[in-house]
């Protein structure tokens, strides 16, 4: 049984998340109460998505530079796993929102922007499946992917900071202010100790799942790829 070191790291970090994440004492802030433990599960979904989509961007650029279909396969599979993480992030966020903001969906700028970001990436999948020519598909979707990334980042990182939002990180408003994920005082040092392994663990899980799909896709398209 040979597992790569980062897969073992992923397993260890996620087990740490699922044990310590439930057991450590947490600060009680506002109406969050124990639900602040969602920091170990909801927030890493978005960190994971950012990591996966950044990898996808890197491979799209690599494809345009090398015209090697292998890179296009990498880019698409990372993007697909990224979408899954985004949908999970939205779903877990709504559940959390229901019990802290009062509604599953309160049309909060952060929620809308995150939903649009996910939709933009869904369009990437639709765009890919609309073309049958491999090279054309790879080229067009790589270009689209680069554009998508540079819309995605403002949507989830910049826009929510410019307006009032219920989500942490908006302009000083209802509850806002500070950093969207790691508000200076909203995480104490014990939480950080679990939070960062959680982020890395979830990200590695995303990479793991993507890598399996990549390997399958490489096998299926073996005749198209030339080293």
């Amino acid at each position: 049984m040979q597992l790569k070191w980062w897969k073992i790291l992923c397993i260890i970090f996620l087990f740490l998340t699922f044990t310590a994440g439930f057991l450590i004492p947490v600060p009680i802030i506002g109406n969050l109460h124990q639900s602040i433990r969602n920091f170990f599960f909801h927030v890493p979904m978005w960190f994971g998505q950012m990591g996966l989509l950044t990898l996808s961007l890197a491979y799209s650029i690599a494809y345009l530079r090398t015209q090697n279909l292998k890179h296009d396969i990498y880019a698409s599979e990372f993007a697909k796993t990224g979408i899954i993480f985004g949908i999970l992030g939205l779903a877990t966020g709504s559940i959390w929102a229901k019990y802290t903001w009062g509604e599953f969906w309160s049309n909060d700028p952060k929620q809308i922007a995150a939903a649009i970001a996910v939709l933009i990436y869904l369009a990437y999948i639709v765009l890919r499946s609309s073309m049958t020519d491999f090279d054309k598909r790879a080229r067009v979707s790589s270009v689209y992917n680069i554009f998508a990334y540079f819309i995605y980042i403002p949507l989830i990182m910049i826009l929510p900071r410019l307006v009032q939002s219920l989500h942490p990180g908006g302009l000083e408003g209802a509850k806002g202010g500070g950093n969207p994920a790691l508000g200076g005082d909203s995480l104490d040092s014990t939480m950080r100790l679990i939070f960062w392994p959680a982020v890395i663990g979830w990200l590695l899980l995303g990479i793991w799942i993507s890598s399996l799909k990549i390997r399958l896709s490489l096998l299926a398209n073996k005749n198209l790829i030339h080293e």
Binding site: M1, L3, K7, I11, L14, F15, F18, T19, F22, L23, W208, I209, L212, R215, L216, L219, K222
Partner: protein
């Protein structure tokens, strides 16, 4: 050998998962029972999540190995 090993591993894990229920019938049980009931039963949630996590990881490793096998055979 691989397949057999994996089957044995899965079986062992399942047995491990069953063991707490078996302990509960004996006299030493109250210790674990009490732990599980303490802190508003948060340990119950933790146990459930860990079971899910274990099974997911076993499944993921299994798929990983299948892909590796296929890669070797082509």
């Amino acid at each position: 050998m691989n397949r057999l090993f994996l089957k044995r591993l899965c079986f062992t894990v399942v047995l491990f998962l069953l063991s707490p229920f078996l302990w509960a019938q004996q006299t030493i049980s109250p210790a674990i029972d009490e732990t599980m009931r303490s802190h508003d039963k948060i340990y119950v949630v933790m146990a459930v999540c860990i079971v899910i996590l274990i099974v997911f990881f076993l499944y993921l490793i299994r798929i990983d190995r299948k892909v590796s096998k296929k890669e070797k055979s082509v």
